[in-house]
Amino acid sequence: MNADAAFLEVRNLAKAFKHEPVLRRVSLALQAHQTLSVLGRSGCGKTTLLKIIAGLVEPDAGDLYLEGARLNEIAPQRRNIVYLYQEALLFSHLNVFENIAFGLRLRKVPNETVKTKVGEMLESLELGAHRRKRPEQLSGGQRQRVAFGRALIISPALMLLDEPFSNLDAEIRTSMQQLFKQVARRFSITSIFVTHDLKEALIMGDRMAQMSAGELRSFASKEEFVHDPATGVATELGFWDALKAEHIVL
């Protein structure tokens, strides 16, 4: 693995909780402006991996590099890596505008700039009509869009998305996936997208990886991912093919 070429590099990361290993020598490399989809069942260590990269959990061993700089000793506040949870976690005391402006307020950005930047963000996320609404007045999809806006507005170096659409119903989930793809292209986002949904992993990722029992396996290409029996894509395709054949017979 070439550390100079990779935007994010994770080397031999290990973590155990109460002597129970959660991550075993996990390594990965991610190029700038790409999205890495990490597929894995719940409890396989996906969230721990993201939290370690974000600086919210300390690893037992291993090294992290972002743009060649070592991350391990840097506080989460100064990593410029945003971690997005399954839930939107909007601040209930702030309206949509102020939720998105939160990171800018922390950085004491002048009010006029905040207005302009948040206005633009609201428009690009199709939230302009909801700027004064409270979080509880929004739908699940709208809430998740506000959460994206709140993260994107501070131009993070890396976004970590921990199953952000898992609480949404199928239709909104599809539209959110499309929206994220557009936004990721527009803002040139580098991100790690964690999911347990095979289809979502394939839609969202430029690069693919699979996590199982604390071990991460990266795939050279989507084709390799699709053809590997361990990922379950072949089984899924087999199911649909069989159904199709059955339908034709019927």
């Binding site: 600086g55 919210l56 300390e58 690893p59 061993a61 391990n72 000793e73 840097i74 506080a75 989460p76 506040q77």
Partner: protein
């Protein structure tokens, strides 16, 4: 690996928080128990003359201490039982009435009474010359205050029980109304009915057990409160037997310094009892996630 800045701050904050907690919540109680133990065994205080168990023997053999604990336990049990039954009856019988209109707000008013005020009210209602005695006289049941069975400062502690009932019954009622909603007891009873239960069976086998089970911790905590109450027995309680906190206060405040260590004997026994009840509550609670 070096400790990261975030971890350092997190640890420092937690350490400071726990240190503060130990200093202002744990240390005073440890002091109280330690000092009371030392005093009760003759190791502290003005008359301390070294290790002795005579104050314990004195307190137990005089009968005052066991009588006081039994009396306090009776009062607490009776108050909690009567308040609990009242609340249960109101919630099961008149739930809809309690949730509609002005009464849904008015039910909160008695809870704003302090122990001292509740005791004052009970003394004005239940004493020989109190309101109820006057009513009884007006209806010809009694002729003068001496004929009215005074329920204030009586040896069975009915005045104390009544004052605690005045405070606890509305509280339990509101609490059980909330439990009825949060535990979806209405739906559970409907389900029981669809399974063949009669109205009475759905009450006895579903509503009552769920309400009691979910309110048992609060009932027990309230029992501990009543066990150690002071203001109410001070106003409407009897002089003999005395409730625990009054006996402690009297032994502590007497001019006869030889009786002071007995106040600490009572304090130790009382604290042990409270710890026992708390342990029971915590054992009952589900394990930490």
């Amino acid at each position: 690996m070096k400790i990261s800045v975030s971890r350092f701050w997190k640890n420092r904050g937690t350490t400071l928080g726990l240190a503060f907690f130990l200093l202002f919540a744990v240390a005073p109680i440890v002091w109280c128990l330690g000092y009371a133990l030392a005093y009760s065994f003759g190791l502290a205080g003005l008359l301390s003359a070294g290790w002795t168990t005579k104050y314990w023997t004195q307190a137990i053999t005089s009968g005052e201490l066991p009588r006081s604990f039994l009396f306090s336990a009776w009062v607490a049990l009776a108050a909690i039982f009567l308040s609990g039954v009242t609340a249960l009856g109101l919630v099961l019988g008149f739930r809809r009435s309690l949730q509609r209109g002005a009464i849904s707000s008015l039910i909160y008013l008695p809870m704003a009474l302090s122990g001292l005020v509740a005791a004052f009210l009970v003394s004005r209602w239940l004493s020989g010359a109190g309101l109820f005695s006057r009513l009884a006289c007006a209806f010809g049941f009694v002729r003068d205050p001496q004929h009215f069975p005074s329920l204030v400062n009586d040896s069975l502690g009915w005045g104390i029980i009544a004052a605690h009932w005045l405070l606890a019954a509305p509280f339990f009622t509101v609490m059980m109304l909330q439990i009825y909603e949060t535990e979806k007891i209405g739906s559970l009873r409907q389900l029981a009915t669809s399974l063949g239960a009669s109205r009475w069976q759905s009450l006895r086998r579903v509503a009552v057990p769920v309400l009691l089970q979910r309110s048992s911790t609060n009932l027990l905590l309230y029992f501990i409160f009543v066990l150690g109450s002071f203001e109410i027995p001070l106003v409407v309680g009897p002089q003999n037997p005395l409730v625990i906190s009054m006996l402690t206060r009297r032994k502590f405040g007497l001019f006869d310094l030889a009786q002071k260590p007995e106040a600490f004997v009572i304090s130790v026994v009382y604290t042990a009892l409270v710890l026992f009840f708390l342990l029971f509550i915590f054992r009952k609670a589900p394990a930490h996630e």
